[in-house]
Amino acid sequence: MSPHTPHSESSLDAFVDGELTPGERMIVHAEIDRDPRLAEEVCRMRELKALVRDAYQEVPPPPSQKPRLAEASGHLWRRAAVAVLCFLLGGTVSWLLQGAHLDLPSAAADATPAGGRVVIADPSVLAEVTATSAPVLLHLSSADPAKMDQALDELEALARQDLHHRVELVVNGGGLDLIRRDGSPYAERVEALLATYGNVTILACSKALERWRYREGREPRLLKGVEVAPSALDLVVERLKEGWTYVRI
């Protein structure tokens, strides 16, 4: 390894990554002893390394092994999040985590009701969802007509069941095909649903629309009555915090 200027960022990286020779390490150690800011920087880098490592200790299983139905409650997430925080820090609070946990439901627990439920849609559980009294957010990101059909069936069933019951459908990715004026396989049905039920809202993710615009080189034209959400993801998080049931089609 080539000699490093002790102050340079990359020599600190090499230091925390164990890439320095014993002589170089001694120089950096001496620098750290003299300069508390450097010590703090090294501490932040180690935390960052630990965060990256821990963020991938448990990854979603490959689709072939994925269970068809996954459920979790907001309460469980909170517990898991707190457990991760405690595990990482052993009770101490650091600047980095203060930053990263912003979206933790617990941070806003006093102000908002308990988080909602998450359901990865499976025909066998949709009936159960239909029976809940919480408002429902459906999410479609697939261009598969069968899934579109399923999303619309579900939307209509929920809307018809109780006209005061709010139901939203947010689409992104391939799901955008559902609400495009040119080429939606269910154009009439979507417009009819929106015209018939005042409690139904259909939204397109503006980020997905942006990508679509970039890819196709023209403005996407949406079906009548379809609204635009700043971000599908933010909407999902928002609704869950408000106690809605979230159904991924």
Binding site: E9, S10, D13, A14, D17, G18, E19, R44, M45, L48, K49, L51, V52, R53, D54, A55, Y56, E58, V59, P60, P61, P62, P63, S64, K66, W77, A80, A81, A83, V84, L85, W95, L96, L97, Q98, G99, A100, H101, L102, D103, L104, P105, A107, V118, H139, S141, N172, G173, C205, K207, A208, R211, S231, A232, L233, V236, V237, L240, Y246, R248
Partner: protein, 187 residues
């Protein structure tokens, strides 16, 4: 007899290759944040590895060799999607999957979202070093770039990660969105 021994050794090696599946999958997931794609990339890499098994002379280098094949499969995939761009500098506006943020804890999800926003080259270097514990020299071999490039990618990548995670501080959401937009415009 010698042939039998050779076959036996090759069988053992095939098992060793297969045993790395989980690690390869985890890394592929950290690169693309898409379980189905990660699974495909690993399958492709393992198939290639088993086919090229004889090329591997030094078994001590099995790991770097396997991860290099995986990196090549991932780069091929990116090139097929964006033939005109420099793969290492690609910033992929990652798909808005709620699983990315809600599948685990919000903290883990924030870190994953930040990693997903790094240019591909920096993302690969950081995950190989931090997640898999490879040295800079091994990372350089896997990615087929000079060690100096690995060092600068690590340094720039960490600085960017730090900024992204800091931007998540309470009250700094607007700044965070602005920085995301800035990053996307780099494409």
């Amino acid at each position: 007899m010698a042939g039998l021994m050779r076959r036996f050794r090759r069988g053992a090696q095939a098992r060793e290759i297969e045993a790395q599946r989980q690690r390869l999958y985890r890394l592929a997931y950290a690169w693309c944040h898409d379980p189905a794609l990660a699974d495909d990339l690993v399958q492709e890499a393992l198939t290639k590895a088993l086919r090229k098994e004889r090329q591997l002379r030094d078994r001590a280098r099995l790991e770097t060799w396997l991860f290099r094949i995986l990196a090549n499969c991932w780069h091929d995939h990116l090139r097929a999607r964006r033939p005109t761009d420099d793969v290492d500098e690609l910033v992929l506006g990652h798909e808005d999957t709620p699983e990315l943020r809600l599948g685990h804890s919000e903290l883990v999800a924030s870190v994953r979202a930040a990693v997903a926003m790094l240019p591909v080259g920096q993302r690969e270097a950081i995950t190989l070093v931090d997640l898999e514990g490879f040295s800079y020299a091994e990372t350089a071999q896997i990615l087929e770039v000079p060690v100096g490039t690995v060092m600068s990618r690590i340094s720039r990548g960490r600085a960017r990660l730090k900024a992204l995670l800091q931007a998540h501080r309470p009250g700094a959401q607007t700044a965070s969105r602005a920085s995301v937009r800035r990053l996307r415009r780099v494409k």
